[in-house]
């Protein structure tokens, strides 16, 4: 399956990207305006949001997958699994 040419993709999704970035900015402003904003400054969810935003500025691709992993618990190899019967 051939993806859209980059210029076409930019034309088609620019306004959607702009709107979603504004939504994120507004959500962060909303949190910041709330009472006791400093109390959630280091909340792990906000920390992850900041990490995810940093990924957006990285040009090396795979951003969606990398952001998914930021919001994921780590796999624990060697966990004790039940045996088939």
């Amino acid at each position: 399956m051939t993806p859209l040419a980059a210029e076409q993709a930019l034309d088609r999704y620019f306004l959607e990207a702009r709107a979603k970035l504004l939504d994120i900015a507004a959500i962060l402003d909303r949190i910041g305006r709330g009472a006791n904003a400093s109390a959630v400054e280091n909340d792990p969810r906000l920390v992850r949001i900041r990490e995810a935003i940093a990924v957006l500025g990285d040009q090396s691709g795979g951003r969606a997958e990398r952001i998914q992993r930021i919001f994921s618990l780590e796999y624990e190899p060697g966990w004790r699994m039940p045996e088939p019967k």
């Binding site: 399956m1 051939t2 993806p3 859209l4 088609r12 999704y13 969606a64 997958e65 998914q68 992993r69 919001f71 994921s72 618990l73 780590e74 796999y75 624990e76 966990w79 004790r80 699994m81 039940p82 045996e83 088939p84 019967k85």
Partner: protein, 283 residues
């Protein structure tokens, strides 16, 4: 364009949804057993649920010429009650001769607990003893990556399991390759906030291709849209993908997976339009 929604909980939807889906080209659905929104109190509650899935829903769907298939299990959310889960697993074979049952599902993990893993393995044991297909629910949000890895660990640890007879559902960007690289089938769920949007699902198709992958609405009693598969069709058309590629994802792939069920009975499959046939195979 005809399509199949391979994961939708019609018990939670109104009859008008069947009608709208049929109007958009839906000709078959499959409905996995799932959590009712509360923990059921007895095995008899599940017996009634399985009767609903195998008796009432096929009739309701048939009013709109939609074929209704189902999958049976106790959902991972209720696996913490191990004794009830075992009673339900012991009762499932009473329904395995019903013509619309495709297999065992949607089994899986929810919060990745030891009890969930135990009951998951016991469902797999049942599926192996009865030669059933398996439909797997992978956990939500932060639990998904870890839970998907754990589920694949258990499946690979069981030499009886043929990955080609297992569908791993709710895959996203970080889990789709785990499923496909393991030889499993997989599905993407189109949910507005917590899973894939149609646009992201098409992105994933562009990255991994159209083999062994399908999409579903997983419409249920929560925020979900039974018309999600047609939205994906529109997104694929919007990006210029061929009718043949779209038909493969929304129709041929689920049909190919379902046909492996030993109870499968063929029905008259509508012929694709000329646009839905790859150019190289047209006369």
């Amino acid at each position: 364009m005809y399509y199949i929604d391979p994961h939708i909980h019609m018990i939670s939807r109104i009859t008008d949804d069947y009608e709208r889906m049929a109007q958009c080209g839906c000709i078959a659905v499959s409905e996995p057993a799932f959590w009712a929104g509360f923990d059921r109190g007895s095995v008899e509650g599940f017996r009634d649920y399985f009767r609903h899935l195998t008796e009432f829903e096929p009739k309701r769907a048939a009013q709109f010429n939609i074929r209704h298939y189902s999958w049976l299990c106790i959902n991972a959310k209720e696996a913490e009650n191990v004794s009830l889960a075992r009673e339900v697993i012991a009762m499932i074979p009473d329904f395995l001769d019903r013509p619309n049952v495709l297999g065992i599902g949607e089994i899986g993990l929810n919060k990745n607990t030891p009890n969930e893993a135990t009951i998951f393995q016991e469902h797999v044991d049942l599926a192996m003893k009865t030669n059933e297909l398996i439909l797997i629910h992978t956990p939500h949000l932060e639990d998904k990556y870890k839970g998907t890895r754990m589920i694949i660990d258990m499946l690979k640890n069981d030499r009886r399991v043929d990955p080609a007879r297992v569908l791993i559902d709710h895959v996203e960007e970080h889990t789709v390759r785990l499923a496909l690289d393991g030889g499993f089938w997989c599905a993407m769920t189109l949910y507005p906030t917590t899973k894939c949007t149609p646009a992201r699902a098409v992105d994933i198709l562009e990255m991994v291709g159209t083999d062994n992958i399908m999409v579903n609405s997983a419409g249920d009693w929560g925020k979900s849209d039974p018309m999600a598969v047609p939205q994906l069709i529109q997104e694929m058309k919007h990006r210029g993908h061929s009718e043949a590629a779209i038909r493969k994802v929304v129709f041929e792939n689920p049909l190919k997976f379902f046909r492996q069920s030993h109870r499968w009975q063929e029905w008259e499959i509508p012929e694709p339009s000329r646009d839905e046939v790859p150019a190289e195979t047209q006369a």
